[in-house]
Symmetry: C2
Subunit: 366 residues, 2 copies
DNA sequence: TTGAAAGCGCTAACAG
DNA sequence: CTGTTAGCGCTTTCAA
């Protein structure tokens, strides 16, 4: 198939001819490098604009080895966490002149592998990835082995010596646990999502590092008081509204029902709150709710939701800045500091009620 | 600066040598084109995997002219509308083997221009852009003139003969207007955001096409009844929470206050609902609210928000599918059909109250 | 089927 | 300062 249209692209050679100089001089003037007399530069630039010349970045990249672009691989760009972090990344790297190539993997490890390979093949200067899997990650190892700068986002990969930009979740998780325990909650459900390939029917679920930190904080709260958290209350579901909804119902309608629910991110939180409302269960009278990641809507619902907030934009920014530094040749930068997460108490957590929760009609619009 | 690490990249030449064949034959085997004997193919492939060869897509692109990537330029990836549409685009083009290069312009025309140029220079095979400006768009015209496939998203550009994937907003806007008018509303505020460079202090604001359609529907409703909509109630603000909040206060506290507010997208809607709550104004008793773009949280707040929903994912998918077809060589495809938008009545619109709205304390958590 | 050689558009020595 | 000459890694004639 012929190239669409028959617009032959204008090249340096064309500009050089038009300006009456050698190709090399034209290239130098255009690229603003090397030594060029004012007279020549002027003529070349004039010729270039006359022909509306546009340099072919591909050719440039091919022999400089720098594409001035970085790859970003996230699980789900629709998750506000990632879209905000992505903006932080963009803002950080754009000021160093990089373009961001963004790919979405729908939290599937296979898609992540493909995306990383493709970005490597396109010769991006560096990569930021939020790994979907906790397991072995040969594709990430390959990036490191190829000497290409890599920064992880949000999650770490055990055994991979790569810096990660993330929040220091555990203290806030612990504080949240204490908050719930102080109010008498003992049956606390934890709902998270996981890639199918990671969730094995038998044996323990390998949780992504930030989820593990959240759960660790919770468990620590129990342990500290000589209590134990029933691990059966941990519910990893598919990334799927129905699965999350089912987990909620399971948890609140079990013979020994959960009196509080923790949503591992705001997408999950949305479904949890919705499911509870549909069931006619009141927050926090019947069920208390804690959500990870603050979102504007969390303050808008009634009652406003208590959350653990992360400095998401800053995390992204830190990842971008670090990657830019690495690409710029920084050798042994100090490890990235985890950024603080904070518990924001609003209205969705209350003392545990005695006895089983009563069923109510859905609260009418006020 | 030396390339990070001293990993010389493996090239076809290396593979050829390892396999004991010519560079050309190796390339043919690797690229699965031309004629290659089974014996050679086998040896080449074996050699390739032994050396863990990865083809350099850049070099390939440089002489085929196809990058197998498309550029997507949106105003704000944090706007759920765009992040959903983007997923639609990705899903559509990925099945044709394209990678998406996503760029965010923060709704700034200058940034859009830069992004489009950069993508052209990177030789993407085609472009999808949601133009930030209604005005003259030489950078978009340049894309067309270069013969590179282009599809617009959400908004059209007058005078540019390019197909746009979008919703057919006006009928739903009209239905919403009738809904409000039937309930007695006459002072209806319309809050939208606009790029600073488009908002001139004097003269009419050139509205982006989808906003114009929304307003047109509103105006039509008034006109039909022999009424006129006071254009002073149109408030274009910067993309800035404070500006939106100010517009809300202005509107509801004016001597002749608005009895209903229309938010032009869900990001604006969030701020509107929040501002109203802070003012102790009840929805819909004191102020009715209509929001464009349905979002999960709209059903979660009390009362649930009445919205005009668009098939955003499908719009993105249509844009992606069309672009892929164009790149594939489709010559005169039928124009894209606008997809239907629908009014979803929930609880945020009520009959207009008599007299000025009373002030109430913020509704306590139920 | 194969291989040699000529590009794709640009940068980067290397001599003048 | 300027021009000539090689490449970057791959595809693609063109002969053999």
């Amino acid at each position: 198939m012929a190239k669409a249209g028959n617009h032959r692209e204008i090249t340096v050679a064309d500009v050089a001819r038009e300006a009456g100089v050698s190709k090399a001089q034209a290239a130098r003037a255009l690229g603003a490098y090397g030594a060029v007399s004012d007279a020549v530069r002027e003529r070349v630039l004039a010729a270039a604009s006359r022909l509306s010349y546009r340099p072919n970045q591909l050719a440039k990249t091919l022999n400089t080895g720098r594409s001035h672009s970085i790859g970003v691989v996230v699980g789900d760009i629709e998750n506000p966490y990632f879209s905000l972090a992505t903006r932080g990344i963009s803002d950080a790297v754009e000021r160093s002149g990089f373009t961001v190539v963004l790919t979405n993997t729908s939290e599937r490890v296979m898609a992540e592998r493909a995306a990383v390979n493709m970005l490597m093949d396109k010769r991006v200067d560096g990569l930021i990835v939020a790994p979907a899997s906790t397991g072995d990650s040969p594709h990430l190892r390959a990036v490191v082995d190829a000497g290409r700068p890599l920064v992880l986002l949000d999650r770490t990969v055990p055994g991979l010596a790569v810096d990660a930009a993330r929040a220091d979740i555990e203290p806030a998780a612990r504080e949240a646990a204490d908050h719930l325990l102080d109010l008498g909650h003992r049956r606390i459900g934890y709902i998270t999502t996981a890639d199918g390939s990671d969730v094995r029917p038998d044996g323990p679920h390998p949780l992504p590092s930030p989820v593990a930190a959240r759960v660790a904080g919770l468990v620590a709260g129990f342990t500290e008081r000589g209590l134990t958290w029933d691990p059966d209350l941990l519910r990893p579901c598919r990334h799927d509204e129905a699965a999350i909804r089912k987990a909620v119902l399971d948890l609140v309608h079990s013979p020994s029902p959960a009196t509080a629910l923790i949503a591992s991110d705001s997408l999950i939180g949305q479904v949890v709150v919705g499911a509870l409302q549909e069931q006619g269960l009141r927050i926090p009278d019947d069920v208390s709710v804690l959500m990870y990641d603050d979102q504007p809507w969390a303050r808008l619902v009634t009652p406003p939701i208590t959350v653990v907030a992360q400095p998401t934009y800053d995390i992204g920014y830190a990842a971008g800045a670090r990657l830019a530094a690495l690409i710029g040749g920084a050798t042994n930068p100090p490890p990235l500091q985890p950024l603080p997460a904070t518990l924001i108490r609003r209205g969705s957590i209350a003392p545990v009620a005695d006895g089983p929760p009563a069923r109510h009609e859905r609260t009418p619009a006020t």
